[in-house]
Structures are given as C-alpha cells and as structure tokens.
C-alpha cells in the first residue's frame, strides 16, 4: 500500500488540543502515525508542508446539493470540487433534492454517485416527512438503515407540532436526531428579509425574529416532552440563542449550529436589493450578529456549517422578492470562520474545532480529528494568507456567494480524502 509522509507540518488537532511541528504518515486510506517524532519511511511519497498547518479535513453538516434534479445549479461533481477546494472532506447534504431523499433508493443513489466521484465524502440526511410536505413521517427506520445520519425537512420547518412530536419520538427509536429549520412559516410567510427599518425602507416584507424564537421555544418543549434529540440549524437571533442556552443548562437534549453569514454579515449587506444577500433565515441586525459570536464563544452554539445553497443566475437576477433564498458557502467556510480567530474572539484551535470535530461529534461521524487508524482526511492551510473572495473564481456551478468581494484570511493549499490528494492549489 502506498505511503505518504506529510513533513514539516504544523499539526493542529482541535479534538486533542495538539499543536506542534512534525510529520503525519498515511498508508493507503489511513493515518498511521503523526507527531513531532514521526519519521517518514524510505518508500514513502514525501509532501513537504513547508510549515503550513495540517488539520483534519473540514466537516460541513449543512449542504444543499442539487443532484439529482437541479443539475443546472450544481452537480455532485461541481459541488464536490467546491468542497475540496474549501478544505471540506465530509459533507452532509439536505434531502431537498428532486426527488426528495425520503426513500432509500434516492439516498443510495446520492451516496453511490458521490463515492464514485471520490471527492469530498457525502452523507445524506433523510427527510422527516414524505416529500418534505410536513404531513406523514418518511420511512425513518429504513432510511437510517441505509445510512441516513439524521433527519430533517431541509429548508422547510416541520411546522405541525403534532408531527414534530412524533418525529422526535420515533427517530429516537433509532438513535437519531431531528434537525429543525427553525422558522414558523405562518409568521415568516411572504417575508424576504429581516423585519425592521431596513426592510421598511426598501419596501420589502419582513420576517420577524420571533419566527425563529417561537419555533425554537416550541421545539425545546417537544424535545423535553419526548426525550428526542433535537438540533437547530443556522441559528441567527440572539434571543433564540438565549433560549437554547437556558434549555441546555437545564439538561435538555438539544444542540445547534450557525452559518458564516450570521456572524460575519448583517442585514445591511442587502444594500440596494442585493439578492446574493437574500438568505434563509434572513441576515439580521448587528446586535444579533454579535450575539451569534457570543454563542460560539460560550458554547451555546455547537458548530458552524456552511449552509451551502447553490442558486443559478436565473434564480437570483430577479427583483428581490422573487429571487431565490440562499448562498454558496463551501469554498468560503474556512476563511469566514477564521474571522473569529483573526478578530480575537476565539483561539485558532477553538475556531477550527467548530468546523471539524464539533460538527462530526454531533452526528457521530468518525471524522474531523487526527487519529491513528482513522481515515486520512486532511487539509493543509495557511490560516493567515489573505485573498479576496471573487464569485467568478468559485468552482461550483452557481456563484451566488453573499461574500463576493470580501477580503479574507485563510487559504487551503491541499485537501486529502482517504489518503488521496483531491485538491491542490495551483501556485
């Protein structure tokens, strides 16, 4: 089996707190040794890391893929390349493909196609309800047996309290959690951006923060009632974080994540109807943005996910109210997350934890850490190297980045999946 030695690396492992210079050795698909004293065997291929940081490959637990169904917006290939260019080696995709992943055959199709491509690893979520329609439970048990990591209705909230109660209860039979898009659709209906002065000035319908807060409050009660494990995706409001913090303190079985836009941008990014800043949940005000950072610091928020949502030009080059929600994020996940480090909110390891071992642990994925005997999923980065995000250079088919034009720090030089280099920065 082929051996590779990554030498002259600064090894960073957020899970164990390791931060030292040394080497990492892999054999075939597996890490066999690493540390300051690891020695490259003679027959090994040598990769000189030149002092850059070798970290566990990023784990992104919220990605929308457009294959099958909307291949003009993105394919497993294009988004897979986008992922590896962003240093992501494992991604978990939402079931809102066409057809919906509410059936084992679709789940297996996606998993098989992704394996064949050999880019970032793809783990699908299963749908909570058939067709994501919020009415009848999908085959949670069978989907789980086929490899669904958890269950969610994707970009739609499970809004019926009775269905949510049953879903939490039933999924816990199989040890799985329900991931909720926390937004009360009866309150957010027709809204296109955060409710408030900016929306009023622009003449756009608002989505009140309470749409998120109310759903979080309700579901915490349902989680307590059923004992079912619950995870909230992309939390965007300070008050929802407060509610989650309090529930965690009294031992409720809940976790949550947020996405880069919610700690790096606020609603002013909408400017004069910039549809790339039309996201779901909507960008909030700066007070909420700072509360999200606070939540990341004190652990109220468990992880960061990119919330990658490819939309083609035709869905975005429209009047704001008609434009599609969402932004691509795989290629900017690392750099935007590193803003937390560069702005002194978190140290480097704690920052990287949020996009490696922390999200992996939420789903019980064996990924996101440097460990002997585990898959050689690695990313070589320079956390300080500056660059400017330019939508035109993104590898995904869709280029709808809310961060287009932003100067950032943190560059991916090489991405390794199962011991194979799947991305290498052209220099």
């Amino acid at each position: 089996m082929s051996r590779v030695a990554y030498i002259n690396a600064r090894l960073l492992d957020p899970a164990s707190g390791l931060d030292c210079y040394g080497a990492l050795l892999s054999e075939g698909e597996t890490v066999i040794d690493f540390g300051p004293d690891a020695v490259a065997p003679e027959d090994a291929e040598i990769i000189d890391c030149k002092g850059l940081c070798l970290i566990p490959g990023l784990v992104d637990i919220r990605v929308q893929l457009r294959e099958p169904g909307d291949e003009h917006k993105g394919t497993l290939g294009s988004d897979g390349r986008s992922a590896t260019a962003g240093g992501v080696t494992s991604m978990v995709c939402l079931p809102n493909t066409k057809p919906v992943i509410d059936d084992m055959s679709v789940l297996e199709f996606v998993a098989r196609r992704a394996r064949k491509l050999g880019l970032a690893k793809v783990y699908p979520y299963g749908a909570v309800t058939k067709g994501l329609e919020g009415e009848e439970l999908a085959e949670i048990g069978l989907l789980s047996e086929s490899g669904a990591l958890a269950f969610t209705d994707g970009i739609k909230a499970v809004s019926d309290a009775r269905i949510m109660r049953r879903a939490l209860s039933y999924a816990s039979n199989f040890g799985h959690m329900i991931i909720q898009h926390p937004e009360d659709p009866s309150l957010s209906k027709g809204g296109v951006m955060n409710s408030g002065e900016t929306a009023t000035r622009l003449g756009l319908s608002g989505i009140p923060r309470e749409a998120e807060i109310i759903m979080v409050e309700r579901d915490i009660r349902l989680s307590e009632m059923t004992g079912g494990r619950l995870h909230f995706a992309h939390i965007s409001t300070g008050e929802a974080i407060n509610v989650i913090r309090k529930a965690k303190a009294r031992g409720v079985n809940i976790t949550c994540d947020t996405a880069p836009p919610y700690f790096a941008l606020n609603e002013t990014a909408v400017g004069e109807y910039r549809t790339f800043a039309k996201l779901s949940p909507p960008l909030r005000d700066d007070e909420d943005r700072l509360a999200v950072i606070e939540g990341l610091k004190d652990g109220a928020i468990d992880a960061i996910a990119s919330d990658h949502a490819p939309q083609d030009e035709e869905s975005k080059r429209l009047p704001f109210a008609q434009a599609a929600f969402g932004g691509v994020g795989l290629e900017t996940l690392l750099a935007i997350t590193l803003e937390l480090y560069h702005n002194d909110y978190l140290d480097l390891l704690s920052t990287l934890r949020l996009i490696t071992c922390a999200p992996a642990e939420l789903l019980g994925l064996k990924a996101g850490r440097l460990e002997k005997g585990s898959a050689a999923d690695l990313t070589l980065i320079d956390p300080d190297r500056g660059w400017k995000i330019d939508g035109r250079n993104l590898l995904s088919i869709s280029r709808n980045s809310p961060f287009d034009g932003h100067p950032v720090q943190g560059m991916v030089f090489r991405t390794v999946v199962d011991g194979r280099t799947v991305f290498e920065l052209e220099t």
């Binding site: 003449g203 004069e272 035709e314 080059r317 429209l318 009047p319 109210a321």
Partner: protein
C-alpha cells in the same frame, strides 16, 4: 411662452429611482422647473419642443391609468415621442420578463424608460441593465418619486412653503410607496411628518425614517397643516389587517369630525384613485375649499415634464453603445 433656458441647469443624477438620496437643491430644482410648466400648460397653444426627436417608453408591469396618462401627456407636451407598453405579468416568470424586456427595449435606443413594477427594487434592477435614463413610476411598496414631487409642488403652491409644515400621512402606510417617497421628501425639505394608521398597517421600524407614529386619527391630526390620505391597497393585503371596511372607516376614514382636529386651513390630499367611503368621505374629498386632490393631478403633468426634461437633457444622447 418661450422655451425656458436650460443652459445653466445641471441635474446630477442619471435616473430618478427614488426620493431617498436626493438633496434639497435637486428637489427644489425639479419643483421650480415644474412650476414654470404649470401656467404654460393652462394655455391652449402649449406645445414645447425640448424633447423633440427623443423617445420615451412607458413600461408598465402593473396596471395604471392615471400615472401612465400623466407621463404620456408630459412627454407629448415637450414634443417627445411617447410609446406605451403594458406588459402582462404572468405570475410565474415575471422576473425573466423584466430583464428580457429591458434588454429588448434597450436595443431600440429610447431616451427615457418610465417604469412601474409591482416588486420593490425592480425598477432599480432594470436601470442597471439599460443605458438610458430610467424614471421610477412606482415599484412595489418602495418608492413613487414623481408622486411625492407633485404632492410637494401642490403644497408649495398652496402654502407657499414646505419647511415647518406639519403633515399627516394617513392610512395604509405598510403597502404604500407614496408614503415612503413623501416621508423622504418632506423630511428633506424640513416639514414635520406624522403617520396615522392602525398598528397593523404601520411597518416595523418606520420611526427610524424620521416620523412620529399615531394610532388615533383625532390625536394625530391635531394642528396639522396637510392631511394626506392614502388609498387602502386591498389588492396587496394578504390576511386580515383590519376586520372590516366599516370598522376601518369608523376609526380611520377622513370625515369632517376627524378633520376638525386639524388646522382650519388644512389641505386635504389623496394620490388617487380614491376609495370613497373607505379612507375618505365623499363630501370631504369634494370640498373645493379644502381638497387639493384635483390640483394634484394637474401638478402631476408639470412635475413629470420637469423630470423627463432634466433627465433627458442633462444626459448626452445615448448611442446605445
């Protein structure tokens, strides 16, 4: 009347997309220019030729008779060629129609596009895709700049000034582009603006635009110089904002009883078309002594002439490059 000299006038914007961002000077310039057209338009032989050889396209994605006719007349008074296009809006592919139509019309090299669309921001989006001047004739609930200008001209002619006046804007603020444009204009010109409506029709955060909010007509109208009524836009209302028309009129319809709270010489305005007996009682609307509603329509033509002229003549004749 002879042609009015334009040599020394400079209009600093290439489009008129909204009142927000226009300076006091620019607003005054537009109003002064419009003022000079008012008397002229009242004469029988009143054709001017400053826009001769220029093409104006009225592109309306939303039904309108009044505004479109007003722009059409304004363009023709100045000797321009005016073409009306009403684009049927299929509910599904509106946006595609917008950009595609813009590109198509742009290829015909018009000098001005006058655009109305039912989505906020749509006119700005269109203006980014064409190389002629664009006038916003109303976009969603965002802005309707020429309406605010004609309201201002009406007020200025009747009251001699705008600064220092107390203006109440009443009714369906939430769905009104007229309200937003008027708030910007009146604030810029130094008036004091009050909004009066039930809480369900006051959009969140509007105080930040520099207004005082009232939920009671009698209280809000106290000592006002100008009472601007808005049309209740039932077509934009999804879900119940108030229980019934009867109840709405009882509390928020303008009748003589409520009007008694305003100053004795308070001027009543309405952008039209009116829903009589809904937001305004017929006898108040028709009160010649106090209602400026018909005059607003007349000022509309003059204001739109000023906008068309200043935008066209301050820009070099486009070659569509």
């Amino acid at each position: 009347m002879s042609e009015i000299a334009l040599d020394h006038i400079h209009f600093p914007h290439s489009h008129l997309l909204g009142i927000e961002g226009l300076s006091q000077d620019v607003i005054s310039l537009l109003l002064d220019r419009a003022e000079s057209f008012v008397e002229h338009n009242r004469q029988t032989d009143n054709k001017l030729s400053s826009l001769s050889g220029r093409t104006i396209i009225n592109l309306f994605f939303e039904d309108s008779t009044r505004t479109r006719t007003s722009f059409e007349l304004a363009g023709k008074q100045l000797g321009g060629n005016v073409i009306n296009m009403s684009v049927a809006t299929s509910s599904v592919k509106k946006g595609e129609t917008l950009i595609d139509t813009a590109m198509t019309l742009n290829a015909m090299h018009p000098d001005v596009l006058v655009v109305r669309h039912n989505d906020s921001g749509a006119v700005q989006l269109l203006s980014e895709k064409v190389n002629c001047a664009v006038i916003n004739a109303g976009d969603g609930r965002h802005e309707h700049p020429t309406q605010a200008l004609l309201d201002a001209l009406t007020i200025r002619r009747r009251k001699g000034r705008i600064a220092g006046l107390l203006v109440a804007i009443c009714g369906d603020i939430a769905h009104s582009r007229v309200a937003r444009s008027n708030i910007h204009l009146l604030n810029t010109m130094g008036a004091e603006v009050r909004l009066i409506a039930p809480k369900t029709l006051i959009p969140s955060g509007i105080e930040g635009m520099g207004v005082q909010v009232f939920n009671d007509m009698n209280e809000g109208l106290k000592d006002c110089d100008i009472v601007m009524m808005l049309r209740l836009q039932t077509e934009r209302m999804r879900g119940g904002f108030f229980p019934s028309i009867r109840e709405y009129f009882h509390f928020f319809g303008l009748d003589y009883d409520k009007l008694a709270n305003a100053r004795e010489d308070a001027l009543i305005m309405h952008p039209g078309p009116m829903n009589r007996g809904v937001e305004i009682a017929s006898e108040v609307a028709d009160d010649i002594g106090r209602s400026a509603i018909r005059e607003q329509v007349e000022m509309g033509v003059a204001v739109r002439m000023a906008c068309l002229e200043l935008l066209t003549l301050s820009a070099p004749k486009g070659d569509g490059s």
